[in-house]
Amino acid sequence: MNRRALLIGGAALALAPRATIARAAGPLDYLVELEALQVAVYDLATQLPLTGQPAALAGRYRNHENEHLQRVSQALHVQPPAVAPPKFTDESGFLAFAQRVEGLAVSAYNGAIPTIGDHGLRAELAAIVQTEARHSAAIRALRATSPSPRGFEPGAAAAPVQRALAALQG
């Protein structure tokens, strides 16, 4: 009986594909939407008459977010959605909006990564979220607020992230 079970198990393994699609238990499309929104934020910022560090930061972070969008959409097999354009018109509005989006991105990724079974994908998204945290800290420093307000950054579940994402585009 045991031998039979092992034989069946072995046969099943031989038939199984070496790599299955790297998807989490629930859809993670909102991570792609979040990246698309970040691209829109920095795209708009680069069109404003910014100077100094905010101008340099907007250009650099736009490039980062474009790369994130490409990587995450490919990894999750999700087409980037259209997002509502952000509504800010000056440096102060840009930095305030960017702080909110970057903070949300950190919570979103830290909540999503543990739901993913693929360890390679976990590492890939962890590398992206660390960059988002660094963005957030740099923006907060420019706004003269604490760059690291808390000792821990627990993740947020999909539903509150999606609500916050909708509110940012409202």
Binding site: R3, A5, L6, L7, G9, G10, A11, A12, L13, A14, A19, T20, I21, A22, R23, A24, A25, G26, R60, N63, H64, E65, E67, H68, R71, V106, N110, I113, P114, T115, I116, G117, D118, H119, G120, L121, R122, A123, A126, A127, I128, V129, Q130, T131, E132, A133, R134, H135, A137, A138, A141, S146, P147, S148, R150, G151, F152, E153, P154, G155
Partner: protein
Amino acid sequence: MGALNRRHLLGAGAAGALTLAGCGGGSGTTAATTATTGAPVPAGLPGAPDDGAVLAFMLGLEHLQADMYTRMQPAVRGTELDLVKQLAGQEGEHIGKLTDELRRLRHPEPKPRTFKAVPGDRDGALAFAYRVENLVASAYLGQIGRIVDDGALSTMLSIQTVEGRHAAAVGALRTKTATPDGAVAAGQNMATVERVLAELGA
């Protein structure tokens, strides 16, 4: 079926059982997943992930950072001192959390580590801290893909982004970039981290 083939299938079945055990990942608090790509070597085999050992390594790094921030406080003042104290407090929180996790996993706690020396001048101390924070952030990131236990993974994630923030915060005081690796942060393995720590006098 010949004996060789049967033995091959029996072996594959046993290996499959081990693989499934490894993918199960301990506490099982998250929803079921379908992926197997990139899964680590199953627990119990040579080279297998060891969450306790990883957390113990990270605890050593946290002790080093706490030591660094305590010893560099005379070198800074004003808002910079406020920031250094805040970061020191957060490293202390990390020490507490990692210690709790190690006890939960019934893994021995490492002896606290210290640096042989920390620069005594403002610029030197901040440059040292920037290097250490970037190194520690890369150390956390380098281990995320190896962690099996759900609780340990959540702990690692919730600290690794904070260490990235710390690096950016210290860098801002020296007009250094917040993102030295560019769009995607780079992780480092323990051996590489230890080599750099040796250079830094840990």
